[in-house]
C-alpha cells in the first residue's frame, strides 16, 4: 500500500511538473529554497511581486492559475513583504464554488487581513452564504474564517447561523461552531452571554472531539467565574476518569497515551475549579492518584501530564499522599539529564513551595546546578524559583545573584523584569538600610533606564522619610550613607538619567545636612553633573534645583554664599536656555541668591520635603481678584471644554451614547429617519452642561519647591512599608553555617547528580580550581555554602542535622557569608563555581551570529547532499535541466528527538549515523527514480515502534 502511494507520488511529480503545480510555481519555490541569504531571498520576492502585479491584472486568469497566484502572494507576505496589491483577489476567491479554491481563498484572507480591515465587509456576505451550505466542508471553511475575521461589530451578522450549527449532524461542524462562539465570547462577552449554556450542553456531546473542543471556552468561562461552575467538578472528574480508562476512540491516543491533550486541558480546568475548595479537591484525589500511578514517566507526553498534575495539586487543597506523589515526580524531573525535564522540575518546585515550603531543601544542590547552568532558559526559571522562596534570611544572597545576572545580560525585556524583582525583594526583606541603598544603587546604575520611575520616587521618599521608625539618628545615618555612596558613584561615566535625578535630589536635600561636606564641594559636584549630561534637561533641572537648595540652606543658616565660577556660568547658560523650565529655575535661583535669610528660609525650609502642603484646588485665594476684575468689566472665564463643546453639532449631544458605535460599526438594522436640526442651539456660545472639568486636578505649582518630586507623587506611590518593620533587623547567620556543614550527608543520599564523592567537607577546602577541571564528581564547597545560604532558612529538620555535622571546615560566620554572597572583587558572574563544561567555549558560541555560522553550515550541507542534488530535476517538466537545490530533502522525522523514548540524552547517542545513512540512501534512491522496495526501516522506528 505504502509503495503504491509512493509510486503515485512519483508519477504525479513527473507528469505535471511536480505536485500538480505549474513550472513557474516550482521555479519560484525552488529559487526561494536555494537562496543563500536574506538579500537574495528579498530579490527573488521583489521580482515576484512585479510579476504578480502584472499577471493579476491580466483578463480571464484561469481559476487554478489564480489559486497558485494566491499561494504566491502568501509566500510574499510570509517572507516579509507587502502583498496588499493582491488582497482583493484572495477575497474574490472566497466566492468561488469550488471547495479547494474557496478554502484557499479563506486561508489567504485570514493570513492577510486583520479583523478590522476594510475588505472584511466584502467577505461577511460570503460567510453568511457558506454557513448555509449543504456541503459540510464549505460550512467548516466558513467557520474557520469566522474564527479569524469576525470582529465585535460583525458578530450579529453571523451569530444566529452559528448557533444553529451547534446542532449540525456533522461533528466537525459542531466543533467549529463551538469554537466560533468561543471566539465571540473573547471578542465581546456580552454578545453571547445568553448563549453560554450551550458550552455546558456541548460538554455532553456524543463526539469526543466536540467535547474536547468545548473545554477551551469552558476554561475561559471558569477562569472568569469559578463559582458558577462548581457543579461541573464531578463531570470533569468523570470525563478524566473515562479518558484515562481508555474509553475514547483509539485515534485520540498519542504514543500509547489516551487523549493526552484532553487530559491536560481537564487538569487545567480542575485546578481552577478546586482552588482553595476542600470538598471539590477531595473529589479529585482518586483520579489524580491514578494518574501518578499510570503515567509513563519515560515518555515526554507522560511527563507532560505528570507536570500538569503537579500544577493541579499546587492549586487545589491536596492530600498528603498527593503532595508526596507530586514531590516524587518533581525529584524525578530534577534528577533527569534532560534540560527540559529539569526546567519542568524547577517550575514545579516553584509552585509546590507555596504549600510545602521545605520541599526545596532536599533539592538544593540540583537547584544550584540549574542556577549555574549555561543554559539561559534554565537559569531564568531558577531565578524565578529563588524569587518565590526569598525570605529575610536569604535575601542578600539571592538579590546579589540576581544583580550579577542582571548586569550580565543584554535583553532589556528581561533586565527590566529582574530589576523590578530585585527592587521588590529589597523593599520587602532588606536587612538594613545601608544594604538597601547599595542594592538600589546597583539597580539604578545598571538598569536605570529600564526601571519604572516610581522606583526612583520610592527611593527618594524612603531617604526623606526614613524607615518609619521614630529614630532621627538612624534616618540621618541612612541619609549620610546615601550621600556618601552617591558622591562615590557620581563621577562614573554614563549614569542613567533616572539615577542622576535621584542623586541630584538627595544631594540637594541632604548633601550638606550632616556638615561633613561643604556647600561648595557639593555644588561643584552638581555642576559637574549638569555639565556632563548637558543634553538631558531633566537631569539639569534636578541639578539646578539641588543647587538652589544648597544655597538656600547656606543663606538660611547665616553663612555667606560663594557661588563657584562654574556654577555662575551654568546659571548664565541656563538663563538663556531654550527650555523655559530650565530658564525659570535659573531665574529663581538668581532671585533667591539676592534674598535675605528669613525670606529664603520660608521659601526652602530645611528638610521639608515630607511636610504636607495644602493645595487649594479651586484657587479660592484668587476669588477677590477675579471679582474685582469682573466688576471692572472683564469677561468671565470659559473653560476650554466649554469653548470647544459649543462647536459640536447639537445632534451629537442628542445621541452621544450612540456616537461611538455609529461611527465605525456595521449596522444591520435600518437607519432611523433624519431629525430636523435645531439651529438655535448650535451657536458657539451655547453652554452645554459639561461634567466637572478634569484639568483642575493638576494645580499649578511653583516648579522649584523643595518638595517638587515627592510631594507630587505622594498620593499614589508609596513604598511598601507594611510588614517590613518586623522582618528587618540583623538576620542570624548561625543557621546558614550549620546548614552548610550539614550538606554532605544529604548529598550522599543522592540528591545531587555529582554526589558519589562522599566526604567533601574535609577535602574541599584544600582543593580549589583544579578539581573542577578534572571533573571529579565532587560537590563544590562554594556550592554547598551557596546552598546553605539559600536554603538554610527556617526549618525544623536543620536542628537535628546540626548535631550530625562532623564537618572539617566550619568557616567563621563572616567569611561564610562573604563567600556565598559573591562579593564585589569578583564582578564576573560566578564563573568559578560550577562551569564544568568549558565556559569560554559556550559563551563564544552564544556570541557569534547564528546566521553567519549557518553560512558555513550551508556550504557543508550542500556538499554532503552532493549526491542528492538533482531532486528538482526529477520534479520539473524539463527533466534534462537538472537543478541544484540546497533545500534539504531529508525526512523531517529522521532527526526527531525521539519523543517516544523520552530523554533526549539517550536519543543523542542511539541515533545518528545509522539513520542518517539510511536517509541519504533513501534520498539517493528516490532521485535515481527507483521506488524503494520497502519502507526505510530506521526512519519510523521511533514513531511506530
Amino acid at each position: 500500500m505504502e509503495q503504491l502511494k509512493t509510486i503515485g507520488r512519483e508519477l504525479a511529480m513527473g507528469s505535471q511538473g511536480g505536485f500538480g503545480q505549474s513550472k513557474e510555481f516550482l521555479d519560484l519555490v525552488k529559487s526561494i529554497g536555494e537562496s543563500r541569504s536574506k538579500a537574495e531571498e528579498d530579490r527573488i520576492v521583489l521580482s515576484e511581486i512585479d510579476i504578480l502585479k502584472r499577471k493579476l491584472l491580466e483578463p480571464d486568469v484561469p481559476k487554478r492559475k489564480m489559486k497558485e497566484y494566491i499561494i504566491r502572494l502568501v509566500y510574499i507576505e510570509m517572507l516579509g513583504h507587502d502583498a496588499s496589491f493582491g488582497y482583493i483577489h484572495a477575497v474574490k476567491m472566497t466566492h468561488d464554488d469550488n471547495l479547494l479554491l474557496k478554502r484557499t481563498g479563506y486561508l489567504a484572507v485570514t493570513l492577510f487581513l486583520d479583523e478590522d480591515h476594510d475588505l472584511i465587509i466584502l467577505i461577511v456576505n460570503t460567510i453568511q452564504k457558506d454557513l448555509r451550505s449543504d456541503n459540510y466542508l464549505v460550512v467548516c471553511a466558513a467557520l474557520n474564517a469566522v474564527c479569524r475575521l469576525i470582529n465585535e461589530e460583525t458578530i450579529p451578522a453571523v451569530l444566529p447561523q452559528v448557533v444553529d450549527l451547534l446542532n449540525h449532524g456533522k461533528e466537525a461542524v459542531r466543533k467549529k461552531a463551538i469554537m466560533a462562539l468561543h471566539r465571540f465570547h473573547r471578542k465581546s462577552p456580552s454578545s453571547v452571554s445568553h448563549l453560554v449554556s450551550n458550552f455546558r450542553r456541548k460538554l455532553c456531546d456524543s463526539d469526543p472531539g466536540v467535547m474536547g473542543a468545548t473545554l477551551c471556552p469552558l476554561f475561559d468561562l471558569i477562569s472568569e467565574d469559578v463559582a458558577s461552575y462548581k457543579d461541573l467538578v464531578s463531570s470533569f472528574v468523570g470525563i478524566l476518569k473515562q479518558v484515562t480508562e481508555r474509553k475514547l476512540p483509539k485515534s485520540y491516543d498519542y504514543h500509547q497515551m489516551p487523549a493526552p491533550f484532553i487530559q491536560i486541558k481537564l487538569l487545567k480546568i480542575m485546578a481552577l475549579l478546586s482552588s482553595g475548595d476542600k470538598s471539590a479537591s477531595e473529589m479529585m484525589y482518586m483520579v489524580l492518584g491514578d494518574l501518578f500511578r499510570k503515567c509513563d514517566s519515560s515518555t515526554n507526553i507522560g511527563n507532560a501530564i505528570l507536570y500538569e498534575c503537579i500544577r493541579c495539586i499546587s492549586c487545589i487543597i491536596p492530600s498528603p499522599k498527593l503532595l508526596e506523589d507530586a514531590a516524587e515526580a518533581i525529584s524525578k524531573f530534577l534528577k533527569s539529564d534532560s534540560h527540559n525535564l529539569k526546567y519542568m522540575g524547577i517550575d514545579g518546585l516553584g509552585r509546590l513551595i507555596k504549600i510545602s515550603s521545605d520541599i526545596a531543601e532536599q533539592h538544593q544542590l540540583a537547584v544550584i546546578d540549574c542556577l549555574e547552568d549555561p543554559d539561559d532558559t534554565l537559569k531564568r526559571k531558577t531565578f524565578e524559583l529563588l524569587y518565590k522562596m526569598t525570605k529575610s534570611s536569604n535575601v542578600e544572597v539571592i538579590v546579589d545573584r540576581m544583580i550579577d545576572y542582571m548586569i550580565s545580560i543584554n535583553d532589556n525585556h528581561y533586565k527590566t523584569e529582574i530589576a523590578s524583582r530585585c527592587v521588590e525583594l529589597a523593599e520587602q526583606f532588606a536587612p538594613s538600610n545601608q544594604w538597601f541603598i547599595q542594592i538600589m544603587n546597583k539597580v539604578f546604575e545598571h538598569a536605570g533606564d529600564l526601571v519604572n520611575i516610581k522606583v526612583a520616587h520610592n527611593l527618594m521618599r524612603l531617604i526623606a522619610e526614613g524607615f518609619g521608625e521614630d529614630d532621627d539618628d538612624a534616618d540621618n545615618k541612612l541619609r549620610l550613607s546615601a550621600v556618601e555612596s552617591y558622591l562615590q558613584i557620581i563621577s562614573e561615566p554614563k549614569l542613567p538619567s533616572l539615577f542622576l535625578q535621584v542623586i541630584s535630589w538627595v544631594l540637594g536635600e541632604y548633601g550638606t545636612a550632616d556638615g561633613k561636606y561643604s556647600a561648595s564641594y557639593i555644588s561643584g559636584k552638581l555642576c559637574d553633573v549638569a555639565d556632563a549630561y548637558s543634553s538631558d534637561e531633566t537631569v539639569k533641572g534636578y541639578a539646578v534645583t539641588a543647587l538652589m537648595k544648597i544655597y538656600a540652606f547656606e543663606i538660611a543658616s547665616g553663612r555667606k554664599v560663594d557661588v563657584l565660577p562654574e556654577c555662575q556660568s551654568l546659571i548664565e547658560e541656563l538663563l538663556a536656555s531654550h527650555s523655559t523650565d530650565l530658564q525659570q529655575r535659573a531665574y529663581e535661583l538668581q532671585a533667591l541668591l539676592a534674598l535675605d535669610a528669613r525670606a529664603v528660609e520660608s521659601i526652602l525650609p530645611l528638610d521639608a520635603s515630607c511636610e504636607d502642603i495644602e493645595v487649594d484646588k479651586d484657587l479660592s485665594f484668587l476669588n477677590g481678584y477675579i471679582q474685582q476684575a469682573i466688576e471692572s468689566g472683564a469677561q468671565p472665564y470659559v473653560s476650554e471644554r466649554e469653548r470647544s463643546g459649543g462647536m459640536f453639532e447639537t445632534t451629537d449631544y442628542h445621541s452621544q451614547d450612540h456616537h461611538e458605535v455609529t461611527s465605525h460599526a456595521l449596522r444591520f438594522e435600518a437607519y432611523e429617519l433624519p431629525k430636523p436640526s435645531v439651529p438655535s442651539q448650535a451657536s458657539t456660545t451655547a453652554l452645554v452642561p459639561v461634567p466637572e472639568p478634569s484639568y483642575y486636578s493638576e494645580p499649578h505649582q511653583p516648579i522649584s519647591t523643595s518638595s517638587s518630586v515627592s510631594e507630587r507623587e505622594s498620593s499614589e506611590i508609596k513604598l511598601r512599608l507594611d510588614g517590613v518593620k518586623q522582618k528587618w533587623g540583623r538576620p542570624s547567620y548561625q543557621s546558614s553555617t550549620s546548614a552548610s556543614s550539614s550538606t554532605p550527608p544529604q548529598a550522599a543520599n543522592g540528591t545531587s547528580t555529582h554526589s558519589d564523592g562522599g566526604g567533601v567537607a574535609s577535602s574541599s577546602s584544600s582543593k580549589p580550581r583544579s578539581s573542577y577541571e578534572s571533573k571529579k564528581p565532587e560537590i563544590d564547597p562554594e556550592k554547598q555554602r551557596l546552598a546553605a545560604s539559600l536554603f538554610g532558612g527556617s526549618s525544623s529538620s536543620r536542628s537535628d542535622r546540626k548535631s550530625s555535622s562532623g564537618g572539617g571546615h566550619k568557616p567563621a560566620k563572616g567569611t561564610a557569608n562573604k563567600a556565598a554572597t559573591v562579593p564585589k572583587e569578583n564582578p564576573i558572574p560566578v564563573p568559578d563555581l560550577l562551569d564544568f563544561d568549558e565556559p569560554t567555549g559556550t559563551s563564544d558560541v552564544a556570541a557569534t551570529d547564528p546566521f553567519k555560522e549557518l553560512e558555513g553550515l550551508m556550504e557543508s550541507s550542500s556538499q554532503d547532499g552532493g549526491g542528492s542534488t538533482d531532486v528538482m530535476g526529477l520534479y520539473s517538466t524539463d527533466a534534462s535541466a537538472p537543478v541544484k537545490t540546497t533545500t534539504s530533502v531529508d525526512s523531517l522525522l529522521s532527526e526527531l528527538s525521539d519523543s517516544s523514548r523520552g530523554t533526549y540524552h539517550q536519543s543523542q547517542t542511539t541515533k545518528g549515523p545509522n539513520s542518517k545513512e539510511a536517509l541519504e540512501k533513501d534520498a539517493l534512491i528516490r532521485q535515481m527514480g527507483v521506488n524503494p522496495t520497502s519502507q526505510n526501516p530506521t526512519l519510523f522506528k521511533d514513531l511506530l515502534g
Binding site: 510570509m78 477551551c216 522525522l893 526505510n936
Partner: protein, 156 residues
C-alpha cells in the same frame, strides 16, 4: 469598560500565539499567527526568535523566553518548528503537540520533508486549521485532522 477588561484578560491567555516553521538557514517556511501582528512586527519577531533558537545547542532546553512569549521549539532534520505560547502553557505538552503535527504531516505526505511543506503550503495550513483554533488545541486525532483534506484531494 469592564467588558473591555475581560476582553483584555481573555486575549491575555491565548494559549498558542503563533506557529512558525523555519529552516536552519533562518528562512520562514510557514507562519501562522493567532493574534494580529503587522508585517513589520512579524518580520522583527521572526528574526529575533530564529536568532535565539538557532544559537542554542541540543542539550539546552527546548524552551526560550522572548519578550512576553515563551517559545517551544523542536528541530526535525533541517526544519525548526517553533510555537509561541503564553507563560501559562504546559511546555512539554506543546513540545509533543509539535511532534503530533509532524506525525500528521508525515502520515499525509509520507516521509515528509521541507519541500513537501513548501510545495503544499496551503495543505500544511489546512492541517493547522483543523488542529488549532483561537490559539487552542482543538483536534488531536490524525484521522479527523486529515479527513477534510483527503476529501478535498479526492474531489480533484
Amino acid at each position: 469598560r469592564s467588558e473591555k477588561r475581560t476582553q483584555k484578560a481573555l486575549e491575555g491567555k491565548m494559549g498558542i500565539r503563533f506557529i512558525l516553521m523555519v529552516n536552519k538557514q533562518g528562512q520562514t517556511r510557514l507562519a501562522q499567527y493567532y493574534e494580529w501582528l503587522t508585517l513589520e512586527q512579524r518580520r522583527a519577531l521572526e528574526g529575533e526568535i530564529v536568532r535565539k533558537c538557532l544559537a542554542r545547542n541540543d542539550q539546552q532546553c527546548s524552551f526560550v523566553e522572548h519578550r512576553n512569549y515563551k517559545i517551544v521549539y523542536r528541530r526535525y532534520a533541517s526544519l525548526f518548528f517553533m510555537v509561541g505560547v503564553d507563560d501559562d502553557e504546559n511546555e512539554l505538552a506543546i513540545l509533543e503537540f509539535i511532534h503530533l503535527l509532524v506525525e500528521t504531516m508525515d502520515k499525509h505526505f509520507g516521509n515528509v520533508c521541507e519541500l513537501d511543506i513548501m510545495f503544499h503550503l496551503e495543505k500544511a495550513h489546512f492541517m493547522l486549521e483543523e488542529m488549532v483554533m483561537n490559539g487552542c488545541i482543538v483536534e488531536t486525532s490524525k484521522a479527523n485532522i486529515l479527513s477534510p483534506i483527503q476529501l478535498m484531494d479526492k474531489a480533484h
